[in-house]
């Protein structure tokens, strides 16, 4: 017995020692550049997480194939942040404190990116959110820019503006009905901007109704919409809510076009139900630019769907790819992994990405165009491009 006890103690001691040794060696070598990817692989929007992870990993693999950045191999660390503040904050703390990461790509959802950005900025870690469109991600409550936080997508005001412009100019809408989830920063941001711009462009918002993300029964809200008879309904939520609302609306004989934001962009969007709707997005795979064509080809070769066909990247994948590329390009241009220098390089960078040419404005938001897509029963079709 005594021997067993001693022996097990010995093993434990050996394990601890080896763990220390390993930690020391990776700290000393400096041959690896760790980049964390925070993506919602579970939770309410898992398809967003998978696309984001795949897009970012593809960019990292391409850089590694070219010999890495500054001679260092890029090691991605993927964490599931669930599109929810608490898990996202835990994941951020884990990668920063435990893994020693200095560069984060993520989160997807604004409500998770905002708390992560507070931590990253305070610790001098560069965070590029590929898709969080809420203003508060890069700007704090007092309107000051967070120096270490960037994003690869345009922001909510722009999507709300594009939606309103499209509704009034192309659809000739005079009245609109706005549906929003009060608890979701992303949805609220888009809805507020849409309502503001729609009224400025001469339209009238005839009703605003809020719901919660766990709702499944929208018949009462749809009853109100049938009563108000708007020309368009603005529903800037994610695909899961859109599927429910659109299907129930069709069954009630409500044929008003629904307009939304990039939250609709998912392979799980119910095309039959949402047909006749429109949404604003960051990119369209039908875009003929060479960056898009090459990206589509490479992505399709790397990732296959369940039946083995090449996957068509959605905007999440495109933006994650751009976010990773712009970050690695900046590290390369800066010639160092010192985050203070990399952030200065990012502020001046001009990068030709899949989702348009990215340059950052004073608030670290990229200046680029938006695509407007139409939902048809057989797929999502490119409609038009709207410039800022």
């Amino acid at each position: 017995m005594r021997f067993v006890k001693f022996f097990s103690l010995l093993i434990v001691a050996a394990l601890i020692l080896s763990a220390c040794a390993q930690g020391g060696s990776t700290g000393g070598q400096q041959k690896e550049l760790k980049v964390a990817i925070l993506a919602p692989l579970s939770g309410p929007v898992p398809t967003f997480g998978v696309s984001t992870r795949d897009g970012a990993l593809m960019a990292i693999d391409e850089w590694n194939a070219k010999g890495g950045v500054l001679g260092m191999k890029i090691v991605p660390i993927v964490e599931d942040s669930q599109c929810t503040p608490d898990p996202a904050v835990n994941a951020a703390n884990k990668v920063i404190d435990q893994d020693g990461v200095k560069f984060i790509i993520g989160e997807v959802c604004s409500k998770a990116s905002i708390p992560v950005s507070e931590i990253a900025n305070a610790k001098g870690v560069i965070q590029i959110s590929p898709t969080s469109t809420n203003e508060q991600v890069t700007v704090d409550a007092n309107g000051n820019v967070k120096p270490y936080i960037f994003r690869a997508c345009f922001i909510d005001p722009f999507q709300g503006f594009v939606g309103a412009k499209f509704a009034t100019e192309q659809l000739g809408a005079k009245t609109a009905f706005v549906m929003l989830d009060q608890a979701n920063d992303y949805v609220k941001g888009l809805a507020t901007e849409f309502a503001k711009n729609f009224e400025m462009m001469g339209g009238k918002v005839v009703g605003t109704v809020s719901y919660t993300s766990t709702d499944t029964d929208f018949s009462v809200i749809l009853g109100k919409i049938a009563e108000a008879k708007p020309d368009v309904v603005y529903l800037p939520d994610y695909y899961n809510i859109v599927n429910l609302v659109a299907k129930q609306a069709k069954e009630k004989g409500i044929n008003v076009p629904f307009i939304g934001g990039d939250g609709w962009d998912s392979p799980d969007l119910d095309l039959a139900a949402a047909a006749g709707g429109y949404f604003t997005n960051h990119y369209s795979p039908d875009d003929p630019r060479p960056e898009v064509v090459n990206f589509l080809k490479a992505y399709g070769e790397k990732y296959k769907d369940e039946s083995g066909n090449p996957k068509v990247p959605d905007a999440l994948a495109a933006l994650a790819y751009d976010a990773a590329n712009v970050l690695l390009q900046a590290i390369n241009d800066a010639g160092t992994t010192d985050t203070a220098k990399v952030k200065d390089t990012l502020e001046k960078i001009t990068y030709k990405g899949v989702s348009g040419t990215i340059t950052f404005d004073a608030n670290h938001n990229p200046i680029k165009s938006a695509a407007l897509l139409a939902v048809k029963p057989d797929g999502v079709k490119f409609e038009t491009i709207v410039n800022p």
Binding site: S42, T216, D217, G223, K224, K247, K252, G253, N255
Partner: protein
């Protein structure tokens, strides 16, 4: 008391009147006032916009009858083992998923037409859909029996709180085990219906809504799903009344609920009666799950949480342990929710639902139909 008061020699122990806490009338008055205000608001809205009110009422009916199907399971299980089976809402979710796989993967709803091509398509759809529903009910029953045997039976003599916490654990297990990618996946899955939804509107008679056509102003719309849910729920209620009042197993259930040791002495196998109760409650939850999924056509693994909790509130409101109570409570809950969504705001629906729970527990913990000190199935 009468026999005692008949003999004047004996000192009569005067039963103490149940003491009301001081200022109880303040609380009661407040709730009565609240009730009057709510009714007044509803009536004024009914007069102002009758069609909109009717539309909300129909939404409330649909919710209420679904809650009724779930609430029955809560109330029956509580009646017999005094356990609030929090995993019940997740059995409801499993029912929805079983029907999803039966329809989308195995095309079970089309078997009558595949096997007997000469029957009419309408009949084929009806038989196919019933098969899907039956399959869900059977699998949910089997699941509930398994849960009961594995998780609750070993704790039958443990304090009730232990079983309650186990129930919560089972609930989480079903939700998060279901969320694994190789089980149900954590995604929101668009649900393929075994039959098409047909909607009608009421205005100068009942008319069919054709696809792409908007109903006229002031029309009230409803769908075949609503009718199916109502009919199914009422049939289940009648069936249960018959089962509990008229059949041998019903008598055994009532006996086990009343006094388990005595029931055992009378030759009743209490364990199998309890299993049967779980199974039958789960079967109706499974039925509710299928109908709910057909009605709202999007499913995910946490689908059962809120309907389950609201059905629990409905069971408490009606008087937990009472079958008609669960039914009435569920209908009230459905209306409360629909009217809150219509006249206050949608995010308030859950708040109002749980406020009702608090109010019931404060002023009448036994619920509408519940009778203190007397136990029913």
């Amino acid at each position: 008391m009468q026999q005692v008061s008949g003999s004047s020699q004996v000192v009569i122990p005067v039963p103490k009147k149940k003491k009301q806490p001081p200022l109880a009338w303040v609380g009661q008055g407040f709730f009565i006032l609240l009730g009057i205000v709510v009714v007044a608001i509803l009536i004024s809205n009914l007069i102002r916009q009758p069609t909109l009110f009717a539309q909300f009422f129909i939404s409330g009916l649909q919710l209420g009858f679904v809650y009724a199907l779930i609430a029955l399971g809560y109330t029956m299980v509580y009646g017999i083992v005094k356990l609030i089976n929090f995993a019940h809402g997740d059995v409801f979710m499993v029912g929805a998923f079983v029907s999803y796989f039966a329809v989308a993967r195995f095309r079970l709803h089309q078997w009558p037409l595949a096997a007997f091509p000469q029957i009419s398509p309408g009949l084929g759809v009806v038989i196919g859909s019933l098969t899907v529903i039956l399959l869900s009910m059977v699998i949910c029953s089997a699941l509930a029996i398994t849960i009961e045997r594995v998780a609750y039976k070993p704790l039958r003599d443990a304090p009730r709180i232990a079983a309650l916490i186990t129930a919560i654990g089972v609930s989480f297990f079903l939700e998060y085990f279901g969320a694994l990618n190789f089980v149900f996946s954590p995604r929101f899955i668009p649900y393929e219906r075994p039959f098409e939804v047909v909607a009608w509107y009421i205005k100068d008679g009942i008319h069919l809504i054709k696809p792409g056509e908007a109903p006229p102003d002031g029309a009230i719309t409803f769908s075949n799903i609503l009718l199916i849910i109502i009919v199914a729920s009422i049939l289940v209620q009648i069936f249960l009344q018959f089962l509990v009042r008229r059949t041998k197993i019903g008598i055994a259930m009532r006996a086990s609920s009343y006094d388990k040791p005595a029931a055992r002495l009378m030759g009743i196998n209490v364990d199998s009666v309890i299993s049967f109760t779980f199974a039958i409650g789960a079967a109706f939850a499974g039925l509710g799950g299928v109908l709910y999924a057909i009605a709202y056509s999007s499913i995910w693994t946490q689908l059962g949480i809120l309907p389950g909790l609201k059905a629990f509130v409905a069971a408490v409101l009606g008087g937990i342990g009472s079958i008609p109570g669960a039914f009435v409570g569920a209908l009230i809950m459905g209306q409360a929710e629909a009217m809150t969504m219509g006249y206050i705001s949608t995010p308030m629906r859950d708040a109002v639902a749980f406020t009702i729970l608090i109010i019931v527990l404060l002023i009448r913990p036994t619920g509408i139909f519940g009778e203190p000190e007397k136990e029913k199935v």
